[in-house]
Amino acid sequence: MNRTMDILFHNITRFFALFVLIVLIALFFVLFSEAKPAIDAFGLQFVTNSKWAPNMDIFGGYPAIYGSIVSTVIAMIIATPVAVGIAIFLSELAPPWLAATVGMAIELLAAIPSIIYGMWGLFYLAPLLRDIWGGNGLGLATAGVVLSIMILPFMAAITRDAMKTTPSILKESAYGMGATRWEVLKDVVIPYVKSGIIGSIILALGRAIGETMAVTFVMGNAHKIPNSIFKPATSIPVTLANEFTEADTDLYYSSLFYLALILLIISFTVIAIAKFWFLRNLQEQKI
């Protein structure tokens, strides 16, 4: 009786563990098979073709791919220095009570649903940027700013956690030699946690590139390569969110799955690099 139960329990748990693997394989397989007609029709040129004309059944993914990459790059350029600054402030400068309070606030902000960042971007940031930059306030730059603010808490929190792993004895020895705080940071802390910080940044990048709700409102949804980052554009998640329920032809539908497959491959690669290259030796980060 006990033996049967033992075998049964073992196999049930194993089934659910394998289930995760099955879902991932099914994810790739289903996206690929749904995208197959578009892959057959456009091949790899889909990636470089910038014409997206549903009325003519011509689909090119370049504007969406371009928009995803550019908005993410803008977000990383803004968020990385600020997040590292916050992490330095929290781990090295702030008195413990302040570091604890601000650290807690930042962790809580990381939990706020991304659609709220999107609504704020649409109703507050876009009008502000419209006044500063002109245009209608929608575009890659606005999307990049919203994304940067959305990933900031996450990035700051894991960078701070990475910095905290430096053994204090190393820092104390450097201080003992008369080093300034900056010198300790530059020559002791950062070299020690370098791969952890890079890993956190790439992980945040992986999050930003697949983000939908924070950017759909402010991207402007125009299927072309904008001649300026202040002009309306689109990205892969934004295209999916806006057009999925409108796809009326098979090729249209299939092209959207092609985009989804490309996004999955990009994010899979980015996260795999972050995890296996940089964060291998670090304590697992809690998300």
Binding site: L8, V23, G85, F89, L90, V102, L109, T180
Partner: protein, 282 residues
Amino acid sequence: MTLQNRRILINKTVMVLSTAAAIGGIIFLFWILAVLLFKGFAALNFDIFMYDMAPPGREPSGLRNALVGQLMLVVGASAIGVPAGVLAGTYLSEYGGKKSRLARFIRDISDIMMSTPSIVIGAFVYAVLVAPFGHFSGWAGIAALAIMMIPIVLRTTDDMLQLVPGSLREAAIALGAPKYKVIIQVVYRGAKTGMLTGILLSIARIAGETAPLLFTSFSNNFYSTDLNQPIASLTVTMYNYATSPYEEWIDQGWAAALILALFVLGANIIGRIIIRKREGEH
């Protein structure tokens, strides 16, 4: 300038810059929080909980159907995601162990799954559960959220079970208890608080997801508890309302945002209090 002065100057500059970064970043984040609280509380009233969504201009209108739909989706996803994640995590920690290659592989896969763009999961569920049936449904929304939830629960369960000292397991085994009983009655009990916290946080995490619901559970203007039909959710309603041109819909969108944020933050704060309490006991 002497070398020492220069070193001190560089040091001060960097420290001022990073303090400024912290202040700047925090100002932006608090700006968002302030907008959310201000707009949300201004739009919040009893009608929101009493009445269903209505066309703009029609009074009274509320978000009752979206609240009920949201609750059903989250409860449904948790009913599938929590047991599946806990059992899978149990396998990794108790049968796989640290050395097993399969267990390590599944851990890595779950980490990747956790960061998979949620809209891609929505598209996947659309292809599997919506397109073949020809209509959006609450079940499809539940499936999408559960798929996002399983890897999160799996990883926390795995971590929490590994914190239970091996000597406890050995003591139970020495008494002749079969392994499944050791796991259920000893290991789970030892890891109870940690697992509960992890589950709470994973519920909070999926409750705020919009993208996977856009084309799975879709939305519904009417009160419905039928999971075979499209069902309204707070998040999709926020999306639809925020992009609408109607003032009162936009305001209700902020009310929905506030309700959602209070739920998510509340769950996070409770989770933290539980963790702190447990740490205090040791």
